[in-house]
């Protein structure tokens, strides 16, 4: 099995979501560790639509694999700008490219303070390797 990837420009939540912040726009997806643990993804459903306001900890999507279904939480508060409709029917994109084309939602940050609670790549890697 190839080694798992932990890009250093991202922030990570304990529940295995990653966040990429560019200005006040954040992109969110699930980590390489999460896609590897879930195995082949078969289904993605969004709990939010563009325009929705979410608080930190709100569920924004549900992903299902051959093994389990998991809720995906936004670790940060903001307004949903887009959900990745291109994943529908092409859920294996998340397995192949979890940090790129496999992104799930984009949101405009309303409160950047939640970011401080997230892990950097090194801390997240240590956390994953201890599980």
């Amino acid at each position: 099995m190839a080694a798992l990837n932990y890009p250093s420009d991202l922030k990570y939540a304990k529940s295995d979501e990653w966040v990429r912040v560019e200005g006040d726009i954040a992109t969110l997806g699930i980590s390489d560790y999460a896609q590897d643990a879930l195995n082949d993804l078969t289904y993605v459903e969004y709990a939010v639509e563009p325009g929705a306001k979410v608080a930190a900890g709100d569920a924004v999507a549900e992903v299902e694999s051959v093994k389990a279904s998991s809720e995906i939480y936004s670790p940060i508060a903001g307004e949903i700008l887009a959900v990745n409709e291109a994943l529908k029917g092409e859920e294996d994109t998340i397995n192949a490219d979890p940090y790129g084309k496999g992104w799930l939602v984009k949101l405009r940050l309303s409160d950047a303070s939640g970011l401080a609670e997230l892990m950097d790549a090194a801390a997240y890697q240590t956390y994953c390797e201890s599980r």
Binding site: T42, Y43, E64, V66, A68, D92, R131
Partner: protein, 509 residues
């Protein structure tokens, strides 16, 4: 309605192992000759008649061979070892079947007047009493049709209990992250919100997290659903503390009784302080589990919840006037019942089987069932400890979980080991559950297996660990000796083929 989906052309459809019964059909062939009608024929209502209903036209022998062949493609407890964790696939004694086929039970119509069905009612009454005795509860309803319906009934009772007291703030149910998947589903179906609790490093409920949740959100907590032993196969070490903490917050305690096979005659959940639990007759009490169902999921409650039980329940309407007479039994609806869950009185055929099972074992025998189930699980666990990683290395209940990651065989997953087990004629353990253990295999041998069978399973598991390191490809492509080879699970999940009749060429969709 027939749903048809067309297969993509580039994928070849494998030859079926046995044709559909419709494909065996020859127009005009009959399997049964009906006698000449000796009463005037009554016309069927015109709106129920249809021409498009295709029925197979086959001989009796064709039918027998067809279904025998299909049954031989299956694995079953009567055919081989079935260590499917959390499901208690124990042997179902044939005596149960004999009892359920007694004409007085089998031919009894559910609408028969109760005066003429006193034997059946007496059986249900006794079964209610025995199940109550086994788990320390005041009252039992046999109505729920399966475990999930028992859960649903239990949570609805908790809901009704709070509302009945005018306590309308309680909208949350606590569920540990080691719970059965049905638990959060039940909570959601009953209109509550799930609050997930983490487990501590020993696999028990994280008491600090529980106490914090109860401190911060106590007045909104309706109760907690917990499985004991947990789905890790572990007896919850702080169970009394858990129960007290939730009770102090005003919540009620629901026990998922799926794992009762570890507790009978040893621990009574009602005496631990639980308010309600469900039983799975099709697990613990040896009624058929799986294709042979249906299930049965009675619920037991303490005095607090007794008025809310789903109905009808069997009660004594009139005590016997003479010592050698029987009382008069009848159906009653509890005073504040959550209502009916299904038509009639639950799955009565299962009540007969569970009754026969308890009756045959008696109280000391029932205790031995659990003691042997726990002994068998611990024997297998201890003998596999050197080969496989056991994430929670402590005495287990009736089942245990291994983490199927082998050093020197990094490409091997739990699924590969499971598929390889099929080549040795063994049903795979439960895969990837509980979710909190990566690459989980949940193994439940049950008490009905001999030591020789357990030893054979252990030897096979050790052999597979060697194969995993030496010839991993053998596992990746397993099973090799099963009726169907490795299935494409992704395609099965993404591309549904729901078809109960062969799609005829040119048939209109």
């Amino acid at each position: 309605m027939t749903l048809r989906m067309t297969m993509p052309e580039q994928v070849a459809t494998p030859e079926p192992l046995e044709p559909l019964i419709y494909e065996l059909s020859v127009p005009g062939r009959v399997g049964v000759n009906l006698p000449v009608c000796d009463v005037p024929a009554a016309p069927l209502p015109a709106d129920l008649l249809r021409d498009d209903l295709k029925l197979p036209e086959v001989s009796e022998l064709q039918v027998v061979r067809h279904y025998l062949k299909l049954s031989q493609l299956n694995h079953a407890i009567d055919k081989g070892f079935y260590p499917l964790g959390s499901c208690t696939m124990k042997y179902n004694p044939k005596l149960n079947e004999d009892m359920a086929r007694l004409p007085g039970f089998a031919a009894l119509h559910p609408l028969h007047d109760t005066e003429g069905a006193q034997g059946a009612l007496a059986l249900m009454y006794e079964l209610q009493r025995w199940l109550g005795e086994i788990s320390g509860f005041e009252a039992v309803s046999l109505a729920p049709a399966a475990g999930a319906q028992g859960e649903f009934a239990g949570i609805l009772m908790i809901r009704r209990y709070h509302l009945d007291r005018g306590d309308t703030q309680r909208t949350k149910i606590l569920v540990p992250n080691s719970a059965h998947g049905t638990n959060p589903a039940t909570v959601t179906m009953a209109g509550f919100e799930v609050v997930e609790l983490p487990s501590d490093e020993r696999g028990d409920v994280d008491m600090n997290a529980l106490k914090q949740v109860c401190r911060e959100q106590g007045s909104s907590i309706a109760g907690m659903m917990i499985t004991v032993p947990s789905t890790l196969g572990l007896f919850e070490e702080h169970i009394l503390d858990v129960i007290e903490t939730v009770h102090n917050a005003g919540g009620l305690m629901y026990m998922d009784g799926a794992n009762m096979n570890a507790l009978m005659g040893i621990v009574k959940p009602g005496e631990l302080g639980f308010d309600v639990m469900h039983y799975n007759l099709h697990k613990t009490f040896s009624t058929p589990h799986g294709g042979g169902g249906p299930g049965s999921g009675p619920v037991g409650v303490n005095a607090k919840l007794k008025p809310f039980l789903p109905g009808p329940v069997v009660d004594i309407l009139e005590e016997a006037s003479e010592p050698d007479e029987s009382p008069l039994y009848g159906f009653v609806m509890p005073s504040k019942s959550i209502g009916r869950l299904k038509a009639f009185q639950g799955n009565f055929g299962m009540h007969v089987r569970a009754y026969a099972y308890i009756r045959i074992y008696g109280d000391s025998g029932i205790r031995d069932v659990s003691r042997h189930a726990v002994l068998n699980a611990n024997y297998v666990r201890a003998r596999l400890m050197d080969t496989y990683k056991i994430p929670y290395p402590r005495y287990c209940g009736h089942e245990f979980v291994i983490e199927a990651r082998l050093d020197g065989a990094e490409s091997i997953h739990a699924l590969d080991i499971s598929k390889r087990l099929m080549d040795y004629g063994i049903h795979p353990p439960t895969n990837y559950f509980p979710l909190i253990v990566p690459e989980a295999l949940l193994i439940e041998p049950t008490e009905t297996e001999t030591k020789e069978t357990l030893d054979e399973f252990i030897d096979v598991m050790k052999k597979i660990a060697v194969e995993a390191r030496q010839t991993p490809e053998l596992l990746h492509t397993a099973p090799h000796h099963a009726p169907v080879k490795r299935l494409d699970e992704v395609r099965a999940a993404k591309q549904l083929v729901l078809c109960c009749a062969p799609a005829l060429p040119g048939a209109a969709d």
